[in-house]
């Protein structure tokens, strides 16, 4: 299993240069059956990452560019009257796919955002009293610009919570950037990329994730973290039970990517910034959430 995941990671790395950590996190998120939010400035390779992952995993891929005039029907689909058949016919929207890339999700109006988020939760679409099930596996990779940018509708906390992970990509290091500049950009390679696994295999991997052993000692540590976030004055509100569950699932996926059959505290520490970062609201606005998480990790005894 480790071989497969390693192959996925190295294949993706051929396109996204020098970002193995982010790739691993994104993959862990997918293995844990969660939706991924990539937050960064334009041009950092958010879209490329999403696209590459879909390609490598052998999944159907759809992309929607979110704008302020995008309507729910543009994402979900619409029923149109068919004059020949004399009835309404449903035209599925781009959401009927394995991987939906919701580009710049915070540019859309809250109405459209929430329509998407509802589907993310339920994995089905109901239009005109008819329920359409989405293909499996299904997950959303959303990208967003930092909310300080002009013309955005920031996702409220309740909706951020729908995303299992939020990651940032950051600037590449010098060597990777040089390599990137030497090539023609990722797009060209992306077209040539062959999938490593298919949808079925991905589902097997996802199922295997559940079998990664979580010991009592680890749950002690996990609970200590949850307790700390709830008791510390550092945070406005602590982590929810759902967040706790997410932490566990992601740690399991991370342990699997490391080729282990059990979760260790290091796994939790690795995924904690990505899983908890967007869920914790700091009390002081001066320190960033990354600092807060680091502080949190330092304060909880393994």
């Amino acid at each position: 299993m480790k071989k497969i995941t390693d192959a996925i990671i190295s294949k993706t790395s051929e396109v996204i240069l020098g970002k193995e950590q982010q790739i691993k996190l994104a993959l862990a998120c997918i293995l844990a059956k969660g939706h991924l939010l990539i937050e960064d400035l334009p041009g950092m390779g958010k879209t490329t990452l999403a696209h590459t992952l879909a390609q490598v995993l052998g999944l159907q891929f759809q992309r929607v560019q979110f704008t302020s005039d995008l309507l729910p029907a543009d994402v979900l689909g619409v029923s149109v009257y068919d004059r020949n058949a004399a009835n309404f016919k449903f035209h599925p929207g781009p959401i009927f796919t394995n991987v939906l890339l919701a580009d710049e999700i915070n540019r859309a109006t809250p109405k459209t955002q929430s329509a998407l988020l509802e589907v993310m939760e339920e994995a089905q679409v109901t239009i005109d009293a008819v329920t359409y099930t989405l293909p499996q596996p299904f997950f959303v990779i959303a990208t967003q610009n930092p909310s300080s940018q002009i013309g955005t509708f920031a996702l409220p906390e309740s909706q951020l919570d729908r995303f299992l992970m939020r990651i940032t990509i950051n600037y590449p290091d010098a060597a990777s950037e040089r390599k990137l500049l030497q090539s023609n950009g990722g797009r060209e390679q992306l077209a040539k990329l062959s999938p490593v696994i298919d949808a079925k295999q991905l589902q097997t991997l996802q199922a295997a994730c559940h079998d990664i052993h979580v010991s009592d000692a680890l749950l002690d540590y996990l609970q200590a973290i949850l307790k700390y976030t709830r008791q510390s004055a550092q945070f406005n509100a602590g982590l929810s039970p759902r967040a706790g569950l997410s932490l566990k699932q992601c740690a399991q996926a991370w342990a699997m990517l490391d080729g282990r059959d059990h979760v260790i505290p290091e796994d939790i520490q690795a995924i904690l910034p990505s899983v908890a970062g967007h869920r914790l609201v700091s009390n002081s606005t001066l320190t960033g959430s990354v600092d807060n998480i680091a502080q949190l990790l330092k304060s909880v005894t393994v």
Binding site: S215, V263, P265, E266, S299, T301, V302
Partner: protein, 675 residues
């Protein structure tokens, strides 16, 4: 709401049983010390409460509880005549606690009950301080603590697993055990106040037995029925022969009918020195409280060389008295001479006292004395004649003498001829006085029983004895024991051999049942140690011990300071112990070994940060100590997998690593050497 009440029911079910069990122990102990109806009252209410619990009966309403409470208070008032004093107030507390059972159902009630019961249980020690009582009290305290534990552990389980009892009892025992250091510090250092405890009321001293300041035929034989211990003696040198062990108590001068009394006349001490010969005997007496002033000493005491309680003094007739009645067990050191000449000169005052007799009594006795005088016998010959009479006629030594008539001495000497030591001593002295020989009765104890386990002498109330002293020109006061003329065994071997089995002597003074006796002797040795080191730990001992420890004289005010300092130090130490172990978390065996590993690395300068995972730390340490990198990584990986991986079912209860893995880790850590 429903689940809350359910939880409440479950608190009480277990807690009530703990409470009832512990209180049963307490009330069993009180059954020996309080009026019978008080423990009976507990039994009734305890059964009632148990049935409420078992059958889900309704708790009694206020209209029933209120009159019950009033009635309980009145009953105590009527029984004890007051609500104050030891017996009455403890009785009241006991009755009220019994009734409180009927309204004990919430958590708060239980906590109140347990605290009250702690108090009641400990109060038993105001009545008796024997070891077995102490042990029983301890047992009750464990039960009460377990009750507190079960009250605090609210579960919603409807069934009580049988294991939980054991777990809770164990935890309670552990808690008490943890309190032991504090108990010891308090015991050793808590300032002791000399004299009796302030608050102990007078009625605490009733029921103490011992010699009285007067003697009538029957007194001492009554006392002889008691196997209670009068005192214990440890000798510095060999224990003298039994017939030399005369423990001097009250000296009786004044005769009034059948009654002999001490004299209240203030006679100065003899001026001439007492001549002694032979080696002195040194010994330490642990005297049981008897609520009188006498300090018993081996005949003849030399109080100048003895270490007696403060303000003890000796009277002209060589009886040693303390200032206050002896109400707590005391210890003192005696210095006595077995061979002596006492009172070479007899003052007029003493001679008058020593010849005093009531007129017109016991004509036959006077007649007999008169014949001896008319025969011109010397005082020595008169003494001889009297002893010969006891020896040769059919006098019988018995614990159950017949009642004596109007002229007691006549009746005894010429009629019944059956008596106990007080009969012989008193009639002998009477006879002497009638014959003009100054004489007096000395009461005290004779003999004692050697406990081979501990090599000390036990003197019981059953060893109480009375003998005579006659004054003879040039010899002074000479001890004459008429009992020895009748029953030499009494003096040679003790009371057990002197009396036939049919007599009502206490079981333990008899000679049969050697196994029982041996058992008893062992037990008494334990008791003796208990008395000396636990109950007898008084101010003197405390100061002596501290002096030994600190090598400096200290006042008891300083002890308070030491006490507080020690307690603070002790608590700091305990906090350190708790904090060191990750805030009181109990480490499992795997973690314990891992801690050793961390200690080793820490010494080498690589300390694990508390938020660091084992693997991360292993990697860091391996980098810092490249020579041991392999071992460090191996241990870290093994530990991590032991701690977090799934294990083969090695033990049936928990998912714990098996013994082999554990010993492997141990071995690896042991072999890790860092230069």
């Amino acid at each position: 709401m429903a689940s809350q009440t359910e939880a409440q029911i479950n608190i009480s079910k277990q807690a009530i049983i703990w409470l009832l069990l512990s209180l049963s122990i307490t009330f069993t102990l009180y059954a020996f010390n309080l009026e019978n109806w008080v423990p009976a009252c507990f039994v009734v209410f305890a059964i009632w409460r148990y049935l409420i619990e078992k059958n889900n009966w309704a708790y009694p309403k206020l209209w029933l509880r209120f009159p019950l409470t009033i009635a309980g208070g009145i009953a105590v008032l009527v029984t004890y005549g007051s609500l104050f004093g030891r017996d009455a107030s403890v009785g009241l507390l006991a009755v009220m606690i019994s009734m409180k059972l009927l309204e004990t159902r919430t958590k708060r009630d239980f906590v109140v009950m347990v605290v009250l019961s702690y108090f009641l249980t400990v109060n038993i020690l105001l009545f008796t301080q024997a070891i077995w009582v102490f042990l029983a009290v301890l047992l009750a305290l464990i039960g009460l603590t377990a009750c507190l534990i079960s009250v605090s552990h609210q579960t919603k389980q409807t069934t009580i697993s049988p294991q939980i009892w054991k777990v809770q009892a164990k935890l309670a025992g552990k808690l008490l055990l943890q309190a032991t250091p504090i108990m010891l510090v308090l015991f050793v250092l808590f300032p002791r106040i000399p004299g009796p405890i302030w608050g102990i009321p007078q009625d605490a001293y009733s029921g103490m037995t011992g010699l009285s300041d007067s003697m009538e035929p029957g007194n001492i034989s009554q006392l002889s029925l008691s196997s209670k211990i009068a005192f214990r003696v440890e000798f510095k040198s060999a224990i003298p022969a039994n017939n030399q062990l005369y423990w001097r108590g009250p000296v009786l001068w004044h005769q009034e009918g059948r009654r002999w009394q001490m004299t209240s006349d203030n006679i100065p001490l003899p001026t001439e020195t007492i001549e002694t010969s032979g080696e002195a005997t040194d010994y330490t007496i642990t005297l049981e409280p008897h609520n009188r002033n006498w300090l018993l000493m081996l005949d003849l005491p030399d109080i100048a060389s003895s270490t007696l309680p403060a303000e003890a003094h000796i009277k002209h007739d060589m009886q040693v008295l303390s200032k206050e009645p002896i109400r707590t067990r005391i210890r003192y050191q005696g210095h006595s001479y077995l061979h002596y000449t006492l009172g070479a000169k007899l003052s007029e005052h003493e001679r008058t006292l020593a010849l005093q007799l009531l007129e017109d009594e016991n004509p036959k006795t006077r007649q007999l004395a008169a014949t001896w005088v008319s025969e011109n016998k010397s005082p020595t010959a008169i003494v001889e004649a009297a002893l010969r009479m006891f020896r040769e006629q059919t006098f019988v030594y018995t614990l159950a003498p017949p009642r004596l008539g109007k002229e007691p001495v006549d009746d005894f000497l010429f009629n019944t001829k059956r008596g106990f030591c007080e009969h012989y001593a008193s009639s002998f002295v009477y006879l002497m006085r009638a014959a003009g020989v100054p004489a007096r009765i000395v009461t005290g104890y004779q003999g004692g029983e050697i406990n081979p386990n501990g090599n000390y002498l036990i003197v019981r109330q059953s060893d109480a004895h009375a003998w005579a002293e006659v004054w003879i020109q040039d010899q002074g006061w000479v001890r004459v024991d008429p009992t020895s003329a009748v029953s030499p065994d009494r003096i040679e071997f003790g009371i057990g051999t002197a009396l036939p089995d049919s007599n009502l002597l206490p079981l333990l003074s008899r000679q049969d049942y050697p196994v029982l006796k041996n058992l008893y002797m062992n037990w008494d040795a334990v008791n003796n140690g208990w008395n000396q080191w636990v109950l007898g730990y008084d101010q003197d001992k405390q100061l002596a011990l501290l002096k030994k420890l600190i090598n400096k004289d200290i006042a008891w005010e300083d002890i308070g300071l030491i006490l507080v300092t020690t307690m603070i130090a002790l608590m700091l130490f305990v906090s350190y112990l708790l904090l060191r172990n990750n805030g009181g978390v109990v480490l499992n065996p795997t973690n314990k070994i891992y801690q050793q590993f961390l200690k080793k690395l820490s010494k080498a300068g690589v300390t694990k940060l508390r938020h660091e995972g084992a693997i991360d730390f292993g990697n860091r340490a391996a980098k810092a100590l490249p020579n041991q990198a392999i071992e460090i990584l191996e241990i870290s990986a093994l530990y991590s997998s032991m701690q977090y991986a799934k294990h083969q079912a090695s033990s049936n209860i928990t998912n714990a690593p098996n013994q082999q893995t554990l010993s492997l880790l141990k071995q690896l850590v042991k072999n890790l050497k860092i230069k």
